[in-house]
Symmetry: C2
Subunit: 371 residues, 2 copies
């Protein structure tokens, strides 16, 4: 054990080779890179399949740039035998924190765990697929199969509503980072490598399970309804203000419920609904079941107040709420999305280090290494 050198990021010493496209695998790599790992993308000449994805600015992909921050990149043409040998050598190069590859590209014979682990017996390989059986699936097909689009959007809406945020890609990318760190811990303790396969579809199913949706669908006769912006099982919805803004308001706890009554001056009206319904609004279930008359009282209240006054009252009372913002409003008005937030200062710094497609003179390192 050696003392940590000053200014050394937490994952320094870890080296990951990334063969990837789109979101999940690049996000996993970017996450490890942001923590100080040396992440080296292998890109084909001219860039990978996602090099030009929208949104663009000045002909450059903001999407690609955002997902590949803080990484190094080496251009190698794996259509040639020499290129494939070079990539395999880079993956298997010696070094305690090396010998780790993250990919969501189709695994070929040369890039299989079997072949690569001949070059380095303690290889760690994390392979992201669509379905567990290897079938192609992406965030939007996985989401369609899981049922969320039938639960999203207005109660009366006809048809599914897709999410815009590729949430399954995001979760899968972070789980890939978990997998790499778990496998590297195991290797450090026991010298063993690891092949980890992780599918978007299983990530989605696991999350639906964690949230109780799968158990509910198996055990309950009635399917879950579609509730618009009402947050299922608790008290929360959006409202329109007098000056034409929208706000999201929740009361997940008894304290938040009390705060909302005090901030709006509706304590007595809420108590009237409570006693007529024979309910106890300190309980989350009762607030959900009897939400409609409560929402009506709040609709009237919000329609009479401007955002500025609402902000003052709600922040003073500790109400759980947020104005809705467009992305433009977020970057223009919200200090959290500015360099006042140290994370953005960091990200700017990291972005400055992005050197897309710059060739890195990494020695191919062909010597096999045992555990």
């Amino acid at each position: 054990m050696t003392p940590a050198p000053a200014d050394q990021p937490i994952l320094s010493g870890l080296r990951i080779v990334e063969l990837s496209a789109f979101i999940a695998a690049p996000l996993g790599g970017a996450t490890l890179a942001a923590l100080g790992a040396d992440v080296i993308r292998v890109d084909p000449p001219g860039g990978g399949i996602d090099i030009d994805r929208w949104p663009l600015h000045g002909g450059r992909s903001l999407y690609w740039a955002g997902l590949n921050q803080g990484k190094r990149s080496v251009v190698i043409d794996t259509r040639s035998e020499a290129g494939r040998r070079q990539v395999a050598g880079l993956i298997a190069a010696p070094g305690e924190g090396g010998g780790i590859v993250l990919t969501n590209l189709p695994v070929k014979q040369w890039s299989s765990y079997e072949e690569l682990s001949k070059l380095r017996r303690d290889l760690i390989m994390v392979v992201i697929t669509g379905d567990r059986d290897g079938a192609t699936a992406v965030d939007y097909t996985v989401n369609a199969a899981l049922g969320f689009p039938w639960l999203t959007g207005s109660e009366g809406h006809d048809g599914p509503v897709n999410h815009v945020l590729p949430a399954w890609d995001g979760m899968t990318g972070y789980l890939a980072a978990v997998a790499i760190l778990a496998a590297e811990r195991h290797r450090r303790l026991h010298g063993e490598g690891q092949l980890v396969e992780l599918s978007l579809s299983d990530v989605g199913l696991a999350m639906a399970g964690h949230l109780g949706l799968i158990g509910e669908a198996i055990l309950e006769a009635e399917p879950r309804g579609r509730f618009g912006n009402d947050v299922y099982g608790t008290f929360g919805r959006d409202f329109g203000t007098r000056d034409g803004r929208r706000v999201m308001v929740l009361a997940l706890t008894a304290r938040q419920w009390a705060s909302l009554g005090e901030a709006t001056g509706l304590v007595r009206e809420f108590a009237g609904v409570e006693s007529r319904a024979g309910a106890d609004f300190r309980n989350e279930s009762d607030r959900w079941i009897h939400r409609k008359p409560l929402f009506e009282l709040l609709e009237t209240w919000f329609a009479r107040h401007d955002l500025a006054g609402i902000r003052k009252a709600f922040d003073a009372h500790g109400v759980l709420w947020s104005p809705y913002q467009t992305v433009k409003q977020l970057v223009a008005d919200d200090p959290r999305a500015s360099t006042a937030n140290p994370m953005f200062a960091q990200i700017e710094h990291a972005a400055a280090r992005v050197r897309p497609l710059a060739v890195k003179k990494n020695p191919p390192g062909r010597s096999p290494r045992g555990s």
Copy 2:
């Protein structure tokens, strides 16, 4: 370095104490528990604030059960000094893989990093908050501020559309697991503990940055539009079939685009649109820009075909697609959501190990331990 015992899960030896409620922190703990870490929840008598959250079955929370699979639990009342000492002792108990605490509850003086690290100098503590500044925020308020609800739902829809999936909670939970493993690696190498603070709001902002949305909003004059179920910047949308089902279809790559033409027999019609527009549909951008006439051709095609025939043609040609399913359809019809999927066999097994609120006789272990 010692050889790994057979049947030992990858994170065995790691012990995490969890003080938590709702989704992100419990999910982080459940993720580490599923990989073999010993995760011990500390719960107040009668259960925490989320013990009765919907969905329920037979009066029991499927939500709570789903988020706390595979953990152990100890009931301790931290309102008493003795209880607080007991929890602090459990957190700081000796052992190489111990001394790790994950929480999203308000940090009190006794549960602060400063106090706990007096008992164990190499303590690792991961604290999940709403906002970076400690202000309360939850998935639905963070999402309102980020702009996604204005991008979700039909083009003509008036007002924001919330997501139903608490995506920011999910990502934050997985990132908390990343943080714990990264900090434990650092401690193993250098003997140092770590306090990691992670906010839902920063996770959301980082993801909006990774996807290029923040850069786009800063750099582009025009705000991004709302495109219903059309997937931004590529070719993808939902369609209705003759037998009343909906399907999601995408073509992210030139190969997938060719497959879609072949499977539907619309190659010539697509080429006609391409030449009239002066476009090259091998490019993702061109498929996005000229999607409307292509969608019209496909609408007509889908309206003439049943799901069974579509499945046959699409799977034969390797089209990237999925039928939409309700959660009920998912559990009834999709083998991926059954025990045919080894993950669900595993989860069933883990669920059998859930012992909510069972008292664990862990020695309080008060002896301070240096690094």
